[in-house]
Amino acid sequence: MTKQQANWSPYDNNGGSCVAIAGADYCVIAADTRMSTGYNVLTREYSKITKLADKCLMASSGFQADVKALQKLLAARHLIYQHQHNKQMSCPAMAQLLSNTLYYKRFFPYYSFNLLGGLDNEGKGCVYTYDAVGSYERAGYSSQGTASTLLMPYLDKMLKSPSPLLLPAQDAVTPLSESEAIDIIKNAFAAATERDIYTGDKVEIVILNAHGIRREYMELRKD
């Protein structure tokens, strides 16, 4: 029998986009809920956002199986941390752990594009943005995933954040209010969905502030 399939690949791209914005005392992190493979939509209700610690959330797009493995690994590591230290991991600590975890698989990477959002030890919003092999930086806002190239310039324009090139370094956190940030995210996803076939169905928005965690949803185009 002749071989009928193309060569097997251990990777797939299941699409999806994520956005996170840090404010002075809040952090908003959002992702669409579509999961697709090629031109197929696998499901319209897959949450890409997980809670890693009380004040730390991760949104991930890319290859779902890798993302799931990464989430489970971090959850287990966080349990161990809690047993050993009797407290929740801080967001900056989790950011470093995520980087190390990704780099550990540098030569067979997790095909996942992550955003970490949360509150730091001072209660200030923080966003960390990654590549698949673990290099990361703290930012005031960021986007990841299949529509990141559409989302990022929109955020640049709307968020009135000081340029990261300014010297001395300015605080990257946006001066906007929580509700303004949420509106910007909703607009950004509505726009990205128009052009990116891998983004759509619904956007899940998670808001983290001193009061705790709140979730909002907005329907997106289903086509």
């Binding site: 489970k72 287990a76 349990l79 161990i80 047993h83």
Partner: protein, 284 residues
């Protein structure tokens, strides 16, 4: 002075069919300060007495969270207890990694017992010198187990281990029939009274006891000291008014009962006479 010929090795039987080293390990459990557990249909409460080994030191931790649905209280060698609770934590993490659901309590207890049993059958090992009260919740309800160094395990409605635990057991035996339908707070109250029973006249304060709860809708957690003090005050169970009757035999021993690995003389006096008393205490 006679010497016991059959107690130098864990794997050596006595002609009477006993393993002395294993029994000594179970003696170590009695040396530790008391730990108590009791359960209703929906909740399990663990409580323990904290004893500092010296005026200058703090006490050792005797209740450990294993997972959201399981916790343990220990009596005996705390160092062994820590090792075993780390093992249990790992088992829980591994199980939920594979199955995305909590490890059934009964299964963890069997795994733990099997681990203890191995140490009773290897010449190069020693049995764990710790008894564990395992409190947990699974789809079949609330459970309380006792694991002992011999590798035996038992499920209980209520139980107490450690020094002067007999007083607590006596109290629990009088009351256990009502526990099944007890509220969470009533269980805590009974736990605190049981703790007081073991204190022999000392005043019950939150500084000398720890209480932990697990139940439906309530992940395992150790109550903080203020909460415990408030409960003690609310229940008016300070103690001292009723000094519990000294226990048979045990009370006589100057109880240095603390969980630090006490210098070895402890087992020597009691087991030797026990050797010719017949019934093997193996299954307790």
């Amino acid at each position: 002075m006679f010497r016991n010929q059959y107690d130098t090795d864990v794997t050596t039987w006595s002609p009477a069919g006993r393993l002395f080293q294993v029994e000594y390990a179970m003696e170590a459990v009695k040396q530790g300060s008391a730990a108590i557990g009791l359960r209703s249909k929906t909740h399990v409460v663990l409580a323990c007495v904290n004893k500092a080994s010296s005026e200058l030191s703090s006490h050792q931790k005797k209740i450990f969270k294993v997972d959201d649905h399981i916790g343990v209280a220990i009596a005996g060698l705390t160092a062994d207890g820590r090792v075993l609770s780390r093992y249990m934590r790992n088992e829980c993490i591994n199980y939920s990694f594979t199955y995305e659901s909590p490890l059934p309590v009964g299964r963890l207890v069997v795994q733990l017992a099997d681990k203890a049993q191995v140490c009773t059958q290897r010449s190069w090992k020693r049995p764990y010198g710790v008894g564990l009260l395992v409190a947990g919740l699974d789809e079949l309800g609330a459970h309380l187990y006792y694991n002992c160094p011999s590798g035996n395990y038992f499920e209980y409605q209520a139980f107490a281990i450690g020094s002067r635990s007999q007083a607590a057991k006596t109290y629990l035996e009088r009351r256990f029939e009502n526990f099944m339908d007890s509220s969470r707070d009533d269980l805590i109250k009974d736990a605190l009274i049981s703790v007081r029973e073991t204190l022999q006249g000392e005043k019950l304060k939150s500084s000398i006891c720890t209480v932990a709860v697990v139940g439906v809708g309530e992940p395992f957690h150790i109550l903080d000291q203020e909460t415990v003090q408030q409960l003690i005050d609310a229940f008016e169970i300070v103690g001292e008014d009723e000094p519990p009757a000294p226990e048979q035999g045990e009370a006589a021993a100057p109880d240095q009962g603390e969980d630090a690995p006490a210098p070895a003389p402890a087992p020597a006096p009691s087991p030797a006479p026990a050797a010719d008393e017949g019934a093997a205490p193996m299954d307790i």
